[in-house]
Amino acid sequence: MSKPYYVEEDLKKFGNISEFQPELAKKFFDYYGEVFKEGALSEREKSLIALAVSHAIQCPYCIDAYTTDSLEKGADEAQMMEAIHVTAAIRGGASLVHGVQMMNKTKDLTM
């Protein structure tokens, strides 16, 4: 059986990126920790945003991490799926809004 490209256990090793460049890793993780603290947005809102972004960037590690985190922040299935529909709407919208460019070009080229 071939080795999978993504290995679930690697998520736990995220912190190991400091091995090759400790200073930048420290700055990143300190910043990361601050970002997810409760502020103008609640921890749950931030977790749901992270879940939505995880689907936009299609990162399997992030999807696993922020599904767990959303549950641990008290979100339910409906809230989590609605967050992913926001991803889908923005991604779909981003394609469709370029339809205007296609229309502009078409109108430019046609009589």
Binding site: E43, E72, G74, D76
Partner: protein, 346 residues
């Protein structure tokens, strides 16, 4: 109706098997006793006893998937009036302020109301862990809100989520709808309402192998949702961690999540939660009158050490000198913000 593990003759219906699993933690997991030793809390000793938690029986009208009691309609273990009388005698000789009644569904014990009235004669605060649906289960229980009100009982009720899907998945089909109806009945007599002293507290616990969120932020969400959608009011929300015992332990092991969950609890170990773990200020009494450090140790049949083990020989001085028994399930009470029957502790 789903059968209890005991009625199924399931291996996790045996406390001996549960202890075998808990006492041999997976490789890399530090034993709880060793962990608390590193922060100066081993052996774990009691503080002043403030709560007598009495489990009046394992019979319940529900069979919840995570239940640490393995309670259900097929459980026939019920505390007798004679044992209740022994509890009253022990209580009268002590200055313990609070009696916390739990089960099963405590109201299903035929002597439940008599017991409450006797405790109130001693002028102690009474908490009833009411599963809500019992109020609607039979006409003989419909007046429970009035009974609770008459005796100024604090009602503590499980509602794992403000979504029907999440609640029903854990507690059974249709439980959410019935729970909301029961909460409205409690509100009608004044429970959970401003301007009354009638306390109605809800309990959240995760519906799976993950930790509970911050109690304060979840309470805000519960209050908004329940008020807006169902016109339900309550006082406080307690966020409780699932202990890896009984049905929840069976779920963890059979789904292959036991090691991961235990590791999660260990990683979230919070030394500042230990001073306030409930076994330090509570004595738990089983349906047959035996004494335990907490309701979880009771379900694992870990009777108190270094003191008389039955309520008929209740010796508060000896109990307050005892060593509290621990195993790996205790990590559930020290993870994150900690956990107790009253929610967060750190």
């Amino acid at each position: 109706m789903t059968k209890s593990l005991k009625a199924q003759n399931h291996k996790f219906g045996s406390t001996a098997y549960q202890m075998e699993v808990l006492d041999s933690p997976p490789k890399g997991i530090t034993k709880f006793a060793d962990k608390i030793d590193t922060v100066g809390f081993y052996p774990l000793k009691p503080a002043k006893t403030e709560i007598l938690q009495v489990n009046v029986g394992k019979m319940c009208n529900q069979t919840c998937k995570h239940c640490h009691v393995d309670a259900g309609p097929d459980r026939k273990e019920i505390m007798t009036r004679e044992t209740m009388q022994q509890c009253i005698e022990a209580l009268a000789k002590s200055d313990i302020k609070t009696v916390d009644l739990t089960g099963g569904a405590p109201e299903m014990n035929p002597d439940f109301r008599w017991f409450v009235e006797e405790i109130k004669k001693l002028d102690r605060h009474v908490i009833v862990r009411c599963n809500l649906t019992i109020i609607l289960a039979n006409p003989k229980y419909h007046d429970l809100p009035d009974f609770f009100k008459k005796h100024e009982i604090e009602v503590v009720s499980s509602l794992p989520h403000f979504s029907a899907r999440r609640t029903d998945a854990q507690r059974g089909e249709g439980v959410f709808e019935k729970s909301i109806k029961a909460l409205q009945m409690l509100n009608q007599v004044g429970y959970g309402k401003e301007g009354t002293d009638l306390l109605l507290n809800l309990v959240y616990n995760p519906s799976g192998a993950f930790l509970p969120p911050s109690q304060a932020s979840l309470e805000r969400d519960f209050k908004n949702k329940l008020s807006k959608e169902y016109d339900v009011a309550f006082n406080n929300l307690f966020a409780i961690t699932n202990m890896p015992i009984s049905r929840f332990l069976d779920y963890l092991v059979s789904s292959g999540k036991y090691e991961e969950y235990l590791q999660k609890l260990v990683d979230a170990f919070n030394p500042s939660a230990i001073a306030n773990v409930m076994c330090r200020n509570t004595i738990s009494i089983g349906w047959d009158g035996y004494l335990y450090d907490c309701d979880f140790n009771q379900m694992l049949e870990m009777k108190v050490k270094d003191a008389p083990q039955h309520i008929k020989n209740f010796d508060i001085a000896a109990l307050e000198q005892r060593e509290i028994l621990v195993s790996q399930h205790c990590y559930g009470c020290t993870a994150g913000a900690g956990s107790s029957c009253g929610g967060e502790i750190a």
